[in-house]
Subunit: 142 residues, 2 copies
DNA sequence: ATTAATGCAAAGCCTTTGCACCGGA
DNA sequence: TCCGGTGCAAAGGCTTTGCATTAAT
């Protein structure tokens, strides 16, 4: 097995096992938020012997290494995606369940404000924006 | 049992049982975020026969009636507090676990931006702000 | 041989639910 | 009597963990 002590694949000091490789590639290829079950299903299509436990353990490792972000978005289960900027956030439509990405510079502003006013140093801001998307509003108006 | 069809206690059309009364009062008196277990402990001190299921069912009702807000704050368990304004948000210190409240007008701005740019109508924005509080930073610098 | 990673199944944690019982109208 | 609310225990959903096995150096 390939041991990455260099920074190739950003898994410094950790072993890039075939299982971890598949998990990471599926997150990369998907390009949207995924929960563990969805990810497990995708991974299983490529190697049916990979267990759900390994998916969770890989996610834990990637999270710790800063390769991915974990979001809860007000739901009981976690969702994952490749590491994004602070400004990258998500809206959840409560009618159709669709998750839409957006960018907002207000986050940067907020980080500065909180530092200045409260002395709080921020590592991560996650928004849980709930409402109704344009499509669902249009449907209501028909 | 008192049936509130008026808007006293804001429990219109619902029965204000002794159990519900205790649950609501404890949320009121506490004045900070509480999870179900903590709330159950407080309620039990006043009436040990009240079950955890009743606490959860009461929380569900209050939530539905808009009396309280439910927050997840990136944690697995939910926390509850009396209904607050959109601007009222929370920061979590990842070192000491302390939750600090703050107000930010940027939320209002964000609601407007999302309406204008994405056509998204927002019911609720919840921030999960993670970082290090001033006290924990000071401790590190000693 | 040593050490880490994996698969499996079991356990954990928080929350919801089915069901019988109770209490007020 | 009727009907909603309650308590209890069980079930649910997601995630973590213990343990034996496997794989790499």
């Amino acid at each position: 097995m390939i041991r990455n002590r260099s920074n190739e694949n950003k898994l410094e000091g950790y072993i890039l096992t075939p299982q971890r490789q598949i998990v990471l590639e599926e997150i990369r290829q998907c390009g949207r938020l995924l929960d563990a079950k969805e990810l497990y299903r995708l991974v299983s299509q490529r190697d049916a012997t990979v267990s759900l436990a390994t998916v969770y353990r890989s996610l834990g490792l990637f999270k710790q290494l800063g390769l991915i972000d974990e979001h809860r978005l007000g739901k009981s289960q976690c969702c994952y995606e490749l590491k994004q900027s602070l400004e990258h956030q998500h809206m959840i439509c409560d009618r159709c369940g669709k998750v839409t990405e957006f960018e907002t510079p207000l986050i940067t502003q907020m980080v500065q404000d909180l530092k200045q006013e409260k002395g709080f140093t921020i590592d991560k801001i996650e928004l849980c924006v709930h409402g109704t998307c344009r499509e669902c509003q249009d449907k209501s108006n028909e």
